[in-house]
Symmetry: C2
Subunit: 404 residues, 2 copies
């Protein structure tokens, strides 16, 4: 008789955003007249930029003619896209990353979930708390997290690095030495970040203790301050300790287009074993490339027209972020983030729990946000709002919140 | 110090098609004047059908306008696609499969590689031999296959079910009882298949011994004979023992478009645990949906115009298959397959090994095929040619082979 992977049974409840979706649907069905404004899940609302639409139409046409049809893509992704990535995201910032260190994928969520596969089961992971749930859940599924304590909402074998008001949302080196450190900067969910020199201390720490950093740079396009690194490879020594994950979802609105990439430097080695070669093997065996049309869309992100249009799109969302931050402050809330990231992290009022505030906001303002506790125990008492709505909806949501 | 997943180190050589690609590139660079005809990797050559191109253009336009923009897709895939799948691929064949048993993905290769994750590590897998390499390699990566014997090219903990001339390429129930049985029918690489009543005996066997069948139906569209099942759910009792994987790569030429789906029936349970719920959790945690544009392309596969155009496309490739089969017979080769599948499986002449014949064909006819031994030890002495080239190239390749 076959047996299942028991680790799945350890997962408490369902994936955070599925739970939110179900709650909102239930409310919506019971109250069909209410106009719900969704500032919960980090999904974008602005349409794909014209330069990218044009590139996709062109690629669709190519797929319709035998002479220009494209079948299976090269394992790592098309060179036209990888060279645009290298040039714009790395060389332009003085980072020496080569084409064959870039692995194009169907998105950073898949990569975030899959990257742990190339590590041994008995590695100890460290995560910021609160944190994007996929890092922990994918390690639970792999049996790397020990047992779950429903009271503390913590896993026995996970090292948590609290990021709260008290430490300015800057993770501290943990007491126990981790093997794999997940860092998402600028941060989801808190919307905060750390300086380049603070990041350098993490790179030095990882190199010293022999840890690998999984660096999620999905929100890099929202950085507005000069002393914040856009890539971990801006830090000296990062190529011997860090893997970087990048998304096109937030900088170019590709949540429904699906594209991302992972950087695994060739200098990153565990003894003699190249992690670049391991990831290449994983990529070649269990994945078959992002669609040609989507890779052409990715290339257009780096065109002159694309860059100009996306700069405007990012500015649009950051105008929302500013409006939310200032509006909530006026309404008496304590708020964080929103300067280098499209997320606003607020303290729930009157000691409400995160889920109490979720229900309160849904029922009384018909606004959907994300409960901080869904991201980890140190997120309790906090709440996330995203700047990814339309400007009109964002202002409308704020008006409703101010009236509460 | 972090540690890697040592199972990766056990993998011999590189992924089969990467090796072929490298060999062909090397030959091509050394002989730039030679016109190489590729009948190796199972990649298609016909352009995407007009009805699908039209649907993609429409979807691209939708993505460019705020009112019709689509962000994150529903976890299981859009209902418009899942309902078309249910209606056309299942209800039309009398199979009672529900919408929430369909999981839309970026392709059957990803699903083939990932599906093993929901099973315990100590399950025993059984595969046909020869076999699509992903089934075995993904289990090697998960540590489920024991040790590799380079002499026999077999894994100590894998149950091999030889499919050769001698048994008419019909797998026999293994002596040892497997937990997970991979069946790809019509078969890649042999191009052969089994009858519906033979498949029924496998379903009965799996239910009896408590095994789960991973049924890869990627080549279903090429079935031309009446007594062959298009879905395993045509067999009685399959819903309690089988997961079905489907691809759009071969029936609609989506190798570069990327779309597939997996069926996990709700009746499929291990004790109390629903495998449908497990796969839903995996899908929701480590994947973020196929692109909206691609899901609309998938919907168009089932439109009246799409169906008519794809019927022609399949017929085009099957004309190639017939030409290869008859041409090779005329040239004195012993050939199999090509009736219900787009693959021709031939005995190598003069007791050449599969790789010897690969080199011989590449160097003397400039034709690329796939060495049978790359699919498993029982593939030694065989060779695969695909019908996915253009008709002109297929005929040209045959002329060259006949002249050898």
């Amino acid at each position: 008789m076959y047996k299942i992977n028991d680790n799945y049974q350890k997962l408490p409840g369902s994936y955070l955003f599925s739970t939110i979706g179900k709650k909102v649907n239930a409310y919506s069905e019971a109250n069909p007249d209410k106009q719900i404004i969704r500032l919960g899940i980090g999904d974008v609302t602005q349409p794909i930029a014209p330069a990218i639409i044009e590139a996709m139409h062109k690629a669709v046409d190519e797929m319709g003619k035998a002479e220009t049809f494209h079948g299976y893509a090269p394992d790592l992704g098309y060179e036209f896209l990888r060279s645009a990535i290298v040039k714009n995201d790395y060389q332009a910032r003085g980072c020496d990353i080569a084409m064959d260190e870039i692995f194009v994928s169907d998105g950073a969520k898949s990569d975030s979930g899959n990257i742990q596969e190339i590590f041994a089961q008995d590695n100890r992971i460290a995560v910021c708390d609160p944190v994007y749930p996929v890092y922990v859940d994918s390690n639970v599924m792999a049996g790397r997290t020990g047992t779950y304590n429903p009271k503390t909402e913590m896993w026995s074998d996970v090292i948590y690095m609290p990021c709260t008001m008290e430490n300015g949302f800057v993770p501290e080196f943990p007491k126990e030495t981790p093997d794999i450190i997940y860092l998402c900067l600028p941060n989801n969910p808190t919307g905060t970040t750390i300086t380049k020199s603070q990041l350098q201390t993490w790179v030095d720490y990882a190199n010293k203790v022999g840890a690998v950093i999984i660096y999620d740079a999905a929100y890099e396009a929202y950085i507005s301050e000069d002393d914040v690194a856009h890539s971990i490879y801006e830090c000296e020594g990062a190529k011997t300790c860090a893997i970087e994950l990048k998304s096109f979802s937030k900088n170019a609105g590709f949540t429904g287009v699906r594209l991302g990439y992972t950087v695994v430097p060739k200098e990153l080695k565990c003894g003699d074993v190249s992690l670049n070669a391991m990831w290449a093997r994983r990529h070649g065996t269990k994945f078959n490339g992002a669609p040609y049309i989507v890779q052409r869309a990715g290339e257009a992100v780096y065109s002159e027209a694309g860059k100009a249009q996306l700069k405007e799109q990012v500015a649009y969302y950051m105008k929302n972020a500013k409006a939310i931050k200032e509006g909530l402050k006026e309404a008496g809330y304590t708020v964080f983030g929103g300067v280098n990231a499209p997320y606003i992290w607020l303290k729930t009022p009157e000691k409400m729990t995160s889920w109490e505030f979720f229900d309160y906001l849904l029922e009384n303002a018909n606004v959907v946000g994300t409960p901080g506790s869904g991201f980890g125990p140190s997120g309790e008492g906090y709440f996330r709002l995203t700047a990814f709505g339309s400007y009109e909806n964002t202002l409308a949501a704020l008006e409703r919140i101010k009236k509460l």
